[in-house]
Amino acid sequence: MRFLARRLGFYILTAWAAVTLNFLIPRLMPGDPVDLLVARMKGNVDPAAIDAMKRAFGISDANLWQQYLGYLSNLAHGELGRSITFFPTEVSTVIADSLPWTIGLVGVATLISYLVGTSLGVLMAWKRGTWLDGVLPAATFLHAVPYFWVALALAFVFGVTLGWFPASRAYGLEVEPGLTGEFAGSVVYHAVLPAVTIVLASMADRILGMRNVMVTTLGEDYVVMAEAKGLTSRRVMWAYAARNAILPNITSFALSLGFVVGGSVLTEIVFSYPGIGSMLLKGVENEDFPLMQGIFLVISLAVLVANFLADLAYVVLDPRTRQEGQ
């Protein structure tokens, strides 16, 4: 329990750092969203309207410390301000509308990639010298391929050329969103290509990571001992080696979530998926500080929560952590 308390303390500290960075970055950088808006409107905006718009957007000249306190208190009330791009929609509304799509897509794809990748890694370590070795160079290559390149290639081949799967949006135009089988089917159908992209591009790391830890674990005494005792190789592989090898894998998986989320930003953009990544890009393009901050905060917190869950899993799987701390 002390371990968990310690980790919880660390996460709270990190969350505070994320919030503060979030607050500081826009204020340290030059630029003015209202100027941009005026530029996109091609001028001709009343100077009085510009001042009024600045006030409406919540751009103030108060000193930094006061702004910081105001920001924290707004956050505590769950207020993220109004988006400038989608003015007057609240940032929290924009996020609430887009987050479920990202969680659904990235969550499911990551889970699949984790399970398949880890299993492949275990198998590859166990069956070295068979055809499975061929997966290794492929995985190395996939590990170094840009996400969006995979996304574009898949969209082109399976979406445009073959027409097997839709290459954009999250559900069909003809489908009414709701709790119907038709809607669910459409969502799944539309998620195929983006999900495959994320699985392909993120699986390589799981394969390589798991395989490497497994190879090391297989040399451990207790595995050799289990084998010597004449246990079936399947039992040795899964119950002895894999169970131990998976521990570091879980931590690195949780830490890599940030990377997966990052890659999925690009995937969402390629597939016009209405998730948080598309929104983040919109925010960046329009210097929409409130929207960027809000999304960044949500992503950071999501990764933090995932890490905390990984720690919990660690405690369940590895009794040692309960006494030792980290």
Binding site: F10, W149, V215, G262, V284
Partner: protein, 280 residues
């Protein structure tokens, strides 16, 4: 074997980046009236919509893409070495503080942070993009190096140096650092891959300087030019493939270094690979 293939790939691309532009001499941005031509004797890799030669762009792009990768990996590695070694060696409050800092950067999602930072960059030159990538990409290396330093600092030669009254600074950077060189090298190479990917991602989103030619900006222009939709695969495949090949080459060299540095891995013929994702 792996290290040979990997090194071969890297040598090829490095030579291309260093010597290619000198041999070709053409302007990678120069347009011509031969728009959207497939590979031919005149244009080995075809042309873009505005008649730019793709091979010339690939060759010049290698400089920028690999340059950004190297530069940001150098910066990130310096940061990682400083934070990891100092924290690991001194321990105590210094270590606690640096660990928290490292972990914060480890947990914050890097690419979104890079996008946000790049969105604010007043000048999107090659150098500033490299710095942004480095700032968000040093933490994994620092964490690994700290762990290694912890184990090294109890070794005899460090104790001996301490006993002989050497200054801590000297011990860290002249006694411990050389021992950790293989670890630093693998972390460095992994960071290069991450940085190249990050640069490509940023360019693809149109957040880098699009008037310089890099593999990432080539992909951006191929994408906005709808290269795949109009069947111009020669415009789109080469830059992505180059990125992937350089990344593969770096990863293979990394395996090799690991095997050399860790005899146990070598005897069981199993490459251990460090996770490069944290650096991206």
């Amino acid at each position: 074997m792996k290290i040979k293939i990997g090194a071969g790939i890297l040598v090829f691309f490095t030579l291309m980046a260093l010597l290619g532009p000198l041999l070709i001499g053409a302007d990678p941005a120069a347009t011509s009236s031969d728009g959207l031509q497939g590979p031919s004797a005149e244009h080995w890799l075809g042309t873009t919509q505005t008649g730019q030669d793709i091979l010339v762009q690939i060759v010049y792009g290698a400089r920028i893409s690999m340059g950004v990768g190297l530069l940001s990996a150098v910066i990130a590695t310096i940061l990682a070495v400083a934070v990891g070694l100092v924290g690991g060696y001194f321990g105590g409050a210094i270590d606690e503080t640096l660990s928290v800092l490292t972990n914060i950067f480890l947990v914050l999602p890097a690419l979104p942070l890079i996008i946000v930072l790049a969105g604010y960059l007043p000048q999107r030159g090659v150098a500033s993009v490299a710095v942004v990538i480095a700032v968000t990409g040093w933490a994994w290396g620092a964490r690994v190096l700290r762990a290694q330093t912890l184990s090294v600092r109890r070794r005899d030669f460090v104790e001996a140096a301490k006993a002989s009254g050497e200054r801590p600074f000297r011990i860290v950077f002249f006694e411990i650092l050389p021992v950790l060189l293989p670890v630093i090298a693998t972390s460095f190479l992994a960071t290069v891959v991450g940085a190249i990917l990050a640069e490509a991602g940023l360019s693809f989103l149109g957040l880098a300087d699009l008037s310089t030619v890099s593999w990432g900006t080539m992909l951006y222009f191929a994408q906005t030019g709808q290269a795949l939709l109009i069947g111009a695969w020669w415009w789109f495949i080469p830059p992505g493939l180059c990125i992937a090949l350089v990344g593969t080459g770096l990863a293979l060299v990394n395996f090799g270094i690991d095997e050399l540095a860790n005899p146990r891995l070598r005897t069981i013929k199993a490459p251990r690979k460090r996770k490069a994702e944290a650096t991206a």
